[in-house]
């Protein structure tokens, strides 16, 4: 069974690595990380993601630009804010987001 592909965007490199590692601890999920808007859009263009997690430090203007770009390519993409920096909230956020599908 293929894994759920999740794009994680976070400006803080260290926190991004933590989030990606924690997501990948779940055998059913596979996370790809991106720090910049350009990297995030490039990743989104090259892979089919089910879910986008927005982490810390993303400015409102960037958030709007990313959401617009992602939805232009996939109107069904789920985009959620991750709170906590790779925290105990992560799994619940992903489960809840995927349940919306």
């Amino acid at each position: 069974m293929s894994k759920v592909e999740i794009l994680v965007i976070c400006r803080h490199e260290g926190i991004l690595q933590t989030i990606v590692r924690l997501v990948n601890n779940n055998p059913e999920w596979n996370a790809t990380g991106a720090v910049t808007d350009d990297d995030a859009i490039a990743e989104f263009n090259s892979h089919l993601f089910k879910l986008v997690l927005l982490g810390s430090g993303i400015e409102k203007e960037s958030e709007d630009k990313l959401c617009t770009a992602f939805r232009a390519l996939n109107q069904h993409i789920i985009i959620v804010q991750h709170y906590g920096g790779g925290s105990g909230l992560l799994a619940a956020e992903i489960y809840e987001a995927l349940a919306r599908r």
Partner: protein, 238 residues
Amino acid sequence: MAQTILHKAETRGHANHGWLNSYHSFSFSSYYNPNRMNFGALRVLNDDTVDAGMGFGTHPHDNMEIISIPLEGDLEHKDSMNNVAVIKNGDIQAMSAGTGIYHSEYNKDRAHRVKFLQIWVYPDKKNVEPRYDQITLNLEDRHNKLQQILSPNPNDEGVWIHQNAWFHLGKFDKGISTEYNLKAKGNGVYVFVLTGDVKINDQLLNTRDGFGIWDTDKFTITAETDAEFLLMEVPMKF
């Protein structure tokens, strides 16, 4: 008319990792219950016991207001803002994670466990500059009265956080009653009983029960036994 939700103590999520015994009032880590995600802006209420000499290694947080209240023993905190402090029983610590922070929390006592509440509240502003605050509370200020320990205002009693929230502690003798008036329209209050039995209006609560009440301006708190409790007023929509 007031709306309410009751969370009995035994319905909390539970994780025992040996060195850490944790009860989760809301979904956290491997405890996932879609009906127990949050109470308004209150997202995490963890009731933790950490063995002597053990603790949480350095880990990141962002965009959360994190409040720690030791109930027994002391907790050593270190963070990436170079804050190093011991949060003692009787203290309250608030940390605005904002754009991102790393911290660790350890029980440095080699002989005794530490019990503490860790509470996370969604902030009303994202990506703030990370900050840290800690104060020592006067225990007498909660004896048969409500002691404010947290608010949105740096100039008010207690610590402050980036959210329209107010926390109060009370340590009431049996039979003592008081009224709590909510401070902001649209807020609700989550009551957590630390010890004893209390009634919120007509609802009886026991030790470690949680009770949310909203769509009301006020409610009555009565100690059915000697009791200690925490009131967390938070926005229901955020």
